[in-house]
Symmetry: C2
Subunit: 441 residues, 2 copies
């Protein structure tokens, strides 16, 4: 298909930060073949298009990138949110007993639906049964970085880290040539894996030129453990083991000293910040403005639905801006223009995918978000960056294209029935709900 | 009209915190005449209704109450959000030059549309030209506490505080017998009014048995001024003047000592907390959990669109929970169940209107919000309070009734054209935009 999108305010997110008023964009197949002023659009171009969209009352921008989530965990959402022993009372036992391939698959389909409907085209997922999560991404037309979680303790789909590595290798083989799915190696955290498995994970990433990711410097007990056992922070521990590198996406990094930040910067480690989930669990605020000053690439994540509840990045962009403004006691800090890259151009750099996605430029993949300005909360638009960060919400997501495919049209998924996704999810989750019901008593 | 709403999960927000599964509710005229289990609904009751709604996949709860906003300020939204001298560069000069009755009216209509579409039926507004804001509320079917801002400096619709008081008296006379509009006396802040005007405002509130409101303990310069001039906090200064009482709604109260909180509690002063706007302007977090422990009634506000940008209370509820959890370093603090009252039952007590609104009980006015559970972000619903606070967004607001009138139906305003509201706003705001454009250069 060939589409022309006309008369929009276009936030290209290119290196010159070009903003086009009355801009146009042409998609051919999976690729953007024109971005520019509508007045400069060669008349021959729209003439060859299958469809023309007049988007005069919209902002067109790159679709958003979610740097850290756990899509298979939808069944946990709203369960024991404010409970003191939630992890031991609900999460771990329910995951061990009730998490199945069927549930991970149905949950991931619903999670992708939620992300697409909230303008997100791409996510880094770390969970179990990632082979079926990858299959779901292909069906849903969603761009996925799929990471099978590696843990030393026996869990729902592997006996230990080594078995997880084997599953990861299978996923790598299975994903070859897939235009939407890229495998990623995903040890859960330093404290839940042996150093041997962490080193194998890093080596596997290097061997296949892939990214790897883990939770890092997130938990109070984690900070204490490494201090007590090694007299080091977990980041310093990893650095000493040679386990920080420029292919590592470190999720959270809430607790960091200046030395930790220097180690992350020197190694080229990238950081994924999940402010909503971190604040909900009262863990504190990662020092991302300082990290970015030191040259660390930062992306934003929603975390999983068990932690952050919603999977929309508008909430995370707004939180990033206001939490850091307040933390720095400076209302002029963290301008909106510096926040949008965290889910677009900088996020694509985090994923080493900035040649492909993260900005609207000729030759890039057509992962595009169209935000309507017709709802009252979007009026007026003195500054499109400001509108995206401070005003926008899920209700404003009008259209989404992923890899050139029109997947959200007029606020609705195309080609897949939302009620069917929900039915499938509830069917797959029935044993989970029964078990959760017993535990709530 | 007589409606029966059936088969919903009903959060009644009554004093017993009753939650009904498969609940039903009947509205006759402006009043709720039945709330209970659907199985206990007398068959004769639905038989007499004009319309029956099957709400089996929804949460029905009281429509939300916004304790503090400035509806006339839509034109400022997204203008100079991150600008260091925003107040002097944009806000004050544009307000003085361009704020007209026409703009305040059109802006308020759009703000009410935004609030209704985000589940809010009632707001405390403090701005200028409140006579036309009141007219707009009647037209939009919105429940309004209308406060003409009192300021000593000359401003767009009065020369000084005294003239503002006269306008307030006219508003009181004009609003007599109005079922939707209640006047409120609204000095801007202690520092922007003479003590004489503050005392007259308080006396006027007392004379007519009305509420009064002002910004309090919000600004750094305010704290310094009262410390330097009187060796007191602004709250202690007001207390010494006899200017705290149980009809006062103090907005913000960010900076409070234990002594301040004791003074607020002793006097019965109510507090409106606007966490989103406060964090965006890097002013800090009001100590509301402590205030509530001390018996102070607290409500939530969005603040105006110039400060908080969006007027939806879902964002504020979520922020309240997570900011205070993080501030208290306790993920179990501020459970969702304790947050919903801030926009419903406790908010109604703040307004001394809990005999009328804030809960779903027989005899109360039918101000009702229906949240759809059909969108992916609402799946599953282990706990409806948790879903409301952590999962819900504007996109889930399916129906809203205000005073028994069905004002939002299937996510759309009834009886008023949104595009017409926008057109009217842009027409009225044209001189503002021209002037703003010059100042942005």
């Amino acid at each position: 298909m060939k589409y022309v999108l006309r008369h929009a305010t276009i936030l290209t997110m290119d290196t010159e930060e070009t903003v086009l008023s009355d801009g146009s964009l042409v998609i051919e197949g999976d690729t953007i073949i024109y971005v520019g002023k509508d007045s400069a659009l060669p008349p021959s171009l729209p003439a060859t298009c299958d469809q023309e969209l007049d988007l005069c009352d919209t902002i067109v921008m790159p679709a958003l990138i979610n740097g850290h989530t756990h899509m298979g965990m939808i069944a946990f959402r709203s369960l024991g949110d404010d409970c003191p022993d939630r992890l031991r009372r609900f999460l771990i036992p329910l995951e061990n007993v009730c998490m199945t391939q069927e549930l991970a698959y149905a949950s991931s389909r619903l999670a992708m639906a939620e992300m697409l409907l909230s303008g997100t085209s791409c996510a880094v997922d770390m969970y179990f049964f990632e082979d079926v999560v990858a299959a779901a991404a292909n069906e849903m037309g969603f761009r996925l970085y799929a990471g099978e979680t590696l843990m030393e303790d026996p869990h729902c789909d592997a006996q230990d880290g080594q078995q997880g590595l084997e599953k990861t290798e299978a996923l790598i083989a299975q994903s070859r040539g897939n235009s939407l799915v890229t495998p990623i190696i995903a040890p859960h955290a330093p404290y839940s894996n042996t150093v041997e498995v962490l080193k194998k994970a890093q080596a596997l990433a290097k061997e296949h030129d892939l990214l790897w990711t883990m939770h890092l410097s997130e938990m109070d007990f984690e900070m204490e453990k490494y201090q007590n056992e090694y007299g080091l922070s977990p980041i310093a521990f990893l650095a000493r083991q040679g386990l920080l590198d420029s292919s590592l996406l470190a999720a959270h990094c809430i607790h960091t000293s200046d030395e930790d930040i220097a180690l992350l910067a020197k190694s080229g480690t990238r950081v994924i910040h999940c402010p909503g989930a971190n604040f909900k669990s009262a863990k504190g605020l990662a020092r991302c403005p300082k990290m970015r000053e030191e040259g660390i690439l930062v992306g934003l994540g929603t975390d999983g639905p068990a932690s952050g509840n919603t999977l929309d990045l508008f909430t995370q962009m707004k939180l990033y801006a206001i939490l850091h403004k307040n933390g720095l006691h400076d209302r002029t800090a963290i301008p909106a223009k510096s926040v949008v890259p965290l889910c677009t151009s900088e996020a694509a750099k985090v994923l080493k995918a900035d040649h492909t996605i993260g900005s609207l430029e000729v030759g890039k993949k057509a992962d595009i978000l169209v935000l309507g300005l017709d709802q009252p909360n979007m009026v007026p638009c003195h500054d499109p960056y400001s509108v995206v960060v401070y005003s926008s919400g899920v209700q404003n997501v009008m259209h989404v294209f992923v890899n050139g495919k029109w997947v959200v049209r007029d606020h609705k998924l195309t080609g897949v029935s939302l009620s069917q996704l929900r039915d499938e999810f509830f069917l797959a989750a029935q044993p989970f709900f029964e078990e959760a019901g017993k535990r709530s008593l």
